[in-house]
Subunit: 239 residues, 2 copies
Amino acid sequence: MNSEPAIVFSPLKTKRRFEEISTKIKELILKGVLKTGDRLPSETELARQFKVGRQTIREALRLLELSGFITVQRGGSGGPIIENTIMNTLSSSFLDAFKYSNTTIAELTLARIQIETQVLKEALKHIDDADVRALRENIVRAKKMTAEGMQAFRANIDFHKLLAKASKNHVFVIVVDAIMTVVANLLSRRGEPSPEESSYVTKSHERLLDSIVAKREQEAISLLQAHMIEVEKLFPRKK
Amino acid sequence: MNSEPAIVFSPLKTKRRFEEISTKIKELILKGVLKTGDRLPSETELARQFKVGRQTIREALRLLELSGFITVQRGGSGGPIIENTIMNTLSSSFLDAFKYSNTTIAELTLARIQIETQVLKEALKHIDDADVRALRENIVRAKKMTAEGMQAFRANIDFHKLLAKASKNHVFVIVVDAIMTVVANLLSRRGEPSPEESSYVTKSHERLLDSIVAKREQEAISLLQAHMIEVEKLFPRKK
DNA sequence: TCACATTTGTCCGTATGTATC
DNA sequence: AGATACATACGGACAAATGTG
């Protein structure tokens, strides 16, 4: 009767030991039993406790490392440490997906305009003094860097992340972070933006921040959208 | 003069062999030299070619596997195969980030409303016959499943992914896919949605699709937003 | 159905590199 | 600077899984 059987059961691919160990430790971290900064036992000790070989432990640690739950330090008093680097792994996954799907610059800009406009509206509702201070600091830092002839595009990218933070919505923070990683990758790939370009971007941010502080919503939205269209021109043209 | 030295160079943490091998193979895949369905040599053969031990190869394969570039099959004529599972890894990263940041249901719903409304607007511009067909099929499938007393919430989640696809913007496709994974996780965690609930959701989708086909933008937007607010009530309350 | 070959999964022992004290 | 502790890496071996003849 069913031309296509429904997917009821979970994949259940494989029960490899290192996967079980990885998920077990992952659960302990998510439940809060293991907290950031805590040190996991050494590989040999973990192997003893789980009653498996060291190689199995090593592969489990690779999974945890790439999933963004731990980092591993070599040398004396080193070892696996609980550390949240999920945003890094999420961003690089997003970047891979972007590359793999052959997404165009135009699509990226369009999505940025749509999403960040909503983020801006939320930010206008929930922004507080600490946010404004952080944004102002960001601009000062970017200005100082361009004045010294240094690259400021990292700081300029952080501006958008700070704006997302001001929306007080974690989902926006995550999404914007991922998108800005792609933007950063595109910009850094095609050489460095010139100091004039960076300076122009920073000035745009400054005007935008003024509008936000003054609560002029429509003006802020217009500035943001115009800004992103301008930034698109900095991207590599070919492909 | 600089209170805080600028981050100019990349981290350059470690050059572990398995990382180098992993990135090398990753580049070959992204450049198109290795294509989906191609089989990589066996672990022993890879170890011979790269002149490293098998353990190193295995850890490199773990990275590639978790990054979503390959899958590994055991047994005769098995081995590593080029396969794109990036959306899976991206979604699970997003889910981890969601859990780790203690994002609330309210935040998720708000972000969904904001983002999916934009997606809907784009979909209204670019939707074509194939999209409509796929969406109608999705509804038929969901109805059939609820009629047979089966869970239809996977199908109902696919509806939103298909809508994102109709926007013809890959960024939206990626973002919505990630968000819907979180939604699916929240729903499946708190037991299964009852058949009545699933049925209600499917009917909402049907009305929404009618509005889309008729190009009644405002009505479609209203339906979508009301729909998501209703769905929020199905989520687990506590925490 | 059954044996076989291939390949991953796992373990052990050992050596080397690296960071800390 | 030396000792220590740890991850990193190598090689060999066997078990388990899976497709093939």
